[in-house]
Amino acid sequence: MSVAPFGRRLLEITGIEELGAYVVLRAADEGPRAEPGQFAMIAAADGWGGGERQRPLLPRAFSIARQTHGETHFLLEDVGPGTRRLAELRAGEGLWVTGPLGRGFSPPQDGRRAILVGGGVGIAPLAILQDTLTAPATTVLLGFRDAARAEGAALLDGALLASDDGSVGHHGLVTELLHEELDADPHAAVYACGPAAMLETVRRICAERSLPAELALEAGMACGFGACFGCAVARRGGGYLRVCVDGPVLDAAELDSIDEHAGAPSYPIAGHM
């Protein structure tokens, strides 16, 4: 686990690009290398805390999507006051960053093929994972709501696509593609990030087939470093895990099911972090 510098640090935005319905935010970052699956708490240096209804107030948790050429990349979708302000940032503006935080993905064992399963804005940590995987073969399956969101697939190489509306790739769920892949070659390790319903289906498929699966979870969190205890998800066998310090990447075997609040948000929720 990469240790983060203590305290938030001010980075400069070096670029921001639309990727269909999403935005890729890039910041110059001399900080530590993130492990795939780690995240950061980010906030705009200006115009944070004074907007409409005095929000956003707290920083927002984002997977580190990529680190290259001295830059850290984040993928975001405008779903609320925090993401809206972040999506408005322009090159030269400041970004507060605390991180990298949390536990990331572990490499596949026993010569298993890595299958990356992403949904919506949750594809972000799979990009940096693909960058670092050296396994002989990696399969990437990505699902999106529509064609505008499916443009996000450009973040990864060689993805097979599914879309809810049939505009791109397989007309249906990305987890249906996962079934097909596993039927063809079951010697696999699955890495997934996306909406809660998708993660739950991936968890169930992998449990039924006794396959190792690592799930990158999302939860409303105020701090990102274990202080607030807000990002709890139910642990198998009772009690809770903190997504920020026990995750965000959790072994699927640690969970009985994926809480509806523990996936990448797919619709705006007022007050959700």
Partner: protein, 302 residues
């Protein structure tokens, strides 16, 4: 900026609010830099109960206007788990932070029980541990027999504090609840019962509704139904309550509520606080406590 508080000598007046900074988790996230630049002059543990608690079902957070509603539910390992697992690690961390600071970083343990009997057992458990410099009593807990928050009723509060006072020789801080008719009366009751200090404000009771889909019935967003509001939104409430309490008691006051800057801390000190606790601001920046202490040192009159 050094300050005396209940016989403890602190390097500056900024501490953490209970339950807003898990120093063990923070050390894992930030490594030894956390220890070298520890942001607080004393460290207050999260609330410890006799039995382990898992905490409330999620969702536990809601971002409100200039504030945060939480319903965490005081997850903790219970007294035995705290004393065996967490206390040695926190004591070592405080000692290392003190060495880096060239002073001391006292460890204050926060406890909560549903009766004088329960609280007494918590104090008994902590008493032999020299590493615990002081105790803070969370009285925002329903009394096991009356159902009324112990800290919400002055008479009940005085009885409980008086009953548990002889169980410890350590300084006893009573963390008052703001969810009461007259917080100054409660502060006087705690003082009369034998408290060495009072701290306030705890979070203000608050609720949020889940987003409504079409004609669905309104339901609470938070898993526990309601929670407590913190953050900049409550700073002015804290200012009023800390002022009222400081005018009413002789014992020292730890002021907190929405503090984001040295100027905010200065305000609470100006109305009578000896120490100032930082909570929600640490969520935005884990090093906020240190920044606020440095800003406070530069405030006029400091």
């Amino acid at each position: 900026m050094s300050v005396s508080f209940c016989g403890l000598e602190l390097a500056h007046p900024i501490v953490n609010g209970s339950g807003t900074f898990d120093a063990i988790a923070a050390r894992r996230a930030f490594g030894e830099e956390l220890v070298r630049a520890f942001p607080f002059a004393a460290y207050v543990s999260k609330t410890i109960t006799l039995e382990p608690r898992a905490g409330n079902p999620p969702p536990r957070l809601w971002e409100a206007s200039a504030g945060l509603i939480n319903s965490i539910g005081l997850p903790n390992k219970g007294l035995d788990g705290y004393l065996e697992e967490d206390l040695p690690r926190l004591a070592e961390l405080c000692a290392a932070a003190a060495a880096a600071l060239g002073g001391c970083v006292p460890l204050i343990t926060n406890v909560m029980g549903a009766s004088a009997e329960e609280i007494g057992r918590l104090l008994d458990g902590c008493e032999p541990h020299e590493e615990i410099a002081a105790l803070e009593l969370n009285v925002s807990c329903p009394n096991v027999s009356t159902g009324l928050d112990i800290g919400a009723d002055p008479q009940q509060l005085e009885q409980v504090v008086r009953a548990v006072r002889p169980r410890t020789r350590k300084p006893l801080i009573v963390k008052l609840t703001p969810n009461t008719a007259d917080v100054a009366l409660c502060a006087r009751a705690a003082e009369a019962g034998g408290a060495d200090a009072v701290s306030l404000i705890n979070t203000l009771r608050a609720a949020a509704l889940a987003p409504r889909r079409a004609l669905a019935q309104a339901r609470p967003w938070l898993g526990a139904g309601s929670g407590g509001l913190s953050g900049p939104a409550i700073r002015v409430v804290a200012l009023a309550q800390v002022a009222a309490v400081a005018e009413s008691v002789e014992i020292p006051v730890v002021g907190m509520g929405g503090v984001r800057s040295g100027a905010d801390a200065r305000d609470l000190i100006d109305v009578g606080a000896t120490l100032v606790a930082v909570g929600t601001e640490s969520f935005s920046d884990p090093a906020a406590g240190g920044r606020i202490a440095r800003e406070l040192a530069r405030e006029p009159g400091s």
